[in-house]
Subunit: 211 residues, 2 copies
């Protein structure tokens, strides 16, 4: 089972690495990080690069496609090489998935027309321009073979859910135990609904934290 | 504020990237991934490499040191260059921290003698050989300036907790909202206490999933 994860400049590291940590542990899984060119790809925060082991033209099919988000998403939406690659690989997948603003790339490729989808909370309002129907209350949205996750850390939940479908519940539970995913956030500000008063507005006016 | 994250062959990606995603967003933070040599360092699952931007001898001080775990931990315990580097940088830190089996490296450097600490559930019983006192019920253990986290995904909780101490609660909450950390695991197998019957034994006899 081949799992292709797209990388591009200014993606958000955890969007890609959370799902990787889960999906790569499915017995028989082969993950390939893919970008415009082979080699290191810098994340949005700049102090980390992940290596793409394949260029886009070296990967023409996958059982699972995963597209992360991040501030670099915007530039991908108008890059024909990326959008056409996503569309072509999607034609071969069992599951096409995204984390965070990665859903905008799927949408720009025309894959989410008339479908329910989600994204990072700051980007939900951009989905309709591509014909997708945003849902703001679900962390993972599955519509047909398209599975979109909310922001950044939601990719871990997405990947465990996909593992149950790609393999079985026991395998997903085993991987959850291996990565000791028993989350105990020390704060309760993880969603727009639970964030303390004023925090959403503060962030929307603070490009540094949201970059 | 300088945050040094150690990389080594066969580390577990999420151990390092979970904390990075949080800590790198603290205003004024400068993260440096550090390894024996500059360049790509392969994770335990092999299909991903992270770039170390500095060699060990290029980093001699840090405000925060974070040591990830993984199957590659074992080889580090007997590598004098790594153990001595950890000891030397620790002498300069405000916080010295670990995720997963990374606590064994701190322990091998003599930093956890007589201190309470945690680790991945499969490694807890190895801490006493270095004079540390394992606690198996807490996800994050803080003893003095030493903060150790349980397995893999616990690094996200650790980093949010450290952010509250390094900056303030509001900053930690802002970062939690940026990474939309509102975990909703689709299974409840994330700890030894909640895993379904037989799963821990299955994993301990299955090197593939635990590697």
């Amino acid at each position: 089972m081949r799992i292709a994860i797209l990388l591009y400049d200014d993606f958000t590291a955890l969007d890609a690495v959370g799902p990787y940590e889960v999906l790569s542990r499915i017995p028989g899984a082969e993950v390939v990080f893919t970008a415009a060119r082979r080699g290191p790809v810098r994340t949005d925060m700049k102090s980390l690069a992940l290596t793409a082991d394949a260029a886009l033209d070296e990967v023409d099919a996958a059982d699972v496609l995963l597209v992360p988000g991040g501030p670099g998403t915007e530039a991908q939406l108008s890059d024909p090489a990326v959008v056409e690659w996503v569309r072509a690989v999607d034609a071969t997948t069992t599951w096409t998935s995204s984390v965070c603003s990665g859903s905008l790339i799927l949408a720009a490729a025309g894959l989410l027309k008339g479908r329910r989808a989600t994204s990072h909370w700051c980007c939900l309002d951009r989905l309709p321009r591509f014909g997708a129907e945003p849902t703001g209350t679900e962390r993972i949205v599955v519509d047909g073979k398209y599975a979109t996750a909310a922001g950044v850390s939601a990719g871990i939940d997405l990947a465990l859910s996909l593992t149950g479908r790609l393999a079985d519940d026991r395998t997903a539970e085993a991987i959850q135990l291996v990565i000791e995913y028993d989350p105990q956030p020390p704060y309760s500000a993880g969603s727009v609904a639970t964030a303390p008063p004023g925090l959403v507005a503060d962030l929307l006016s603070n490009n540094l934290l949201l970059r």
